[in-house]
């Protein structure tokens, strides 16, 4: 009987894990926000930023997005996880287009 309970619990655990897996991001209004980078995807020029409000936003760089540090433009490869950033976002529908990303001193 003990094995049965463990077995059922294991299946339930796997099922719940499967159902709850997956990242959930937020949509915020247009504006400038401070936050920390939690994930960088260089291939897709994509970053995840954890804003000071606790919301997580997923940002895809556009052709016009500017990236700078100490007043100078820097390449995307400069970005690292845990970098502090100031991002200016434009909300288009429910999509967030980064207008500018400024890397701040940690």
């Amino acid at each position: 009987m003990k094995i049965l309970v463990k077995f059922t619990a294991l299946i339930a655990l796997f099922t719940l894990t499967a159902i709850s897996c997956g990242e959930s991001t937020d949509v915020v209004d247009s504006g400038t926000y401070m936050g920390t980078i939690t994930e960088v995807n260089a291939e897709e020029t994509e970053i995840y930023v954890n804003l000071e409000s606790g919301q997580l936003v997923e940002l895809y760089f556009t052709d016009t997005t500017t990236l700078s540090q100490n007043g100078e433009e820097v390449p995307f490869s400069t970005i690292e996880v845990d970098d502090r950033v100031e991002v200016t976002l434009e909300k288009v529908g429910q999509r967030l287009d980064p207008v500018s990303v400024v890397l701040l001193d940690n």
């Binding site: 299946i11 499967a18 159902i19 997956g22 291939e43 999509r95």
Partner: protein, 168 residues
């Protein structure tokens, strides 16, 4: 004059493949759910058919998840509401994982469990049915989101020019 884009472009591999797991996984769920109400012979046939559908369905589901991630990176910048894509992606993973667990239980546990473990076998069979039914609900929900992406947001859809010159 603009050129008509290829039907073999990367973002279209996903819609080409996605209908295989939809049919196979839902088919597996229907067949397996009916089997407890059938005679032993018919139930055996339904279970075998369900198992085959499930295995091929799981393989095609993971291929579909992969092609979906390829399409994701191409279409996400064009969408007005990428949160729908995110939910669709999460739904796809959930489907693949739920049906994979069902397949492992079905093939590994039920098939190789000793005959004397009848109670455990029976519970596992019902767990498989439960997983297939929950997974089917996710298939319906995720398919609905996929349709929303295409028909409401035009994901991966080419918009012909006003004069249709590319078709001349």
């Amino acid at each position: 004059m603009s050129e008509l884009p290829s039907l073999w472009r990367t973002e279209l591999w996903h819609p080409m493949l996605v209908h295989f797991p939809i049919v196979l996984l839902l088919g597996a769920a229907v067949l397996r759910s009916l089997s407890p109400f059938l005679s032993e012979d018919n139930a055996r046939f339904f279970n075998r058919a369900s198992r085959l559908s499930l295995v091929i369905g799981v393989i095609t589901a993971w291929i579909t998840v992969y092609t979906g991630s390829l399409a994701d990176s191409i279409v996400v910048r064009e969408l007005c509401d990428p949160t729908v894509l995110e939910s669709h992606e999460n739904g796809g993973y959930t489907i693949a994982v739920l049906f994979s667990i069902a397949a492992v239980l079905d093939l590994g546990v039920i098939k190789f469990l000793p005959e004397q473990k009848q109670l455990l076998k029976r519970i596992t069979e019902w767990a498989v049915i439960g997983l297939l039914l929950v997974g089917s609900g996710y298939v319906a929900y995720t398919a609905h989101l996929g349709a929303s992406l295409v028909y409401q947001q035009g994901a991966a859809v080419y918009e012909p020019t006003a004069g249709c010159s590319e078709f001349e």
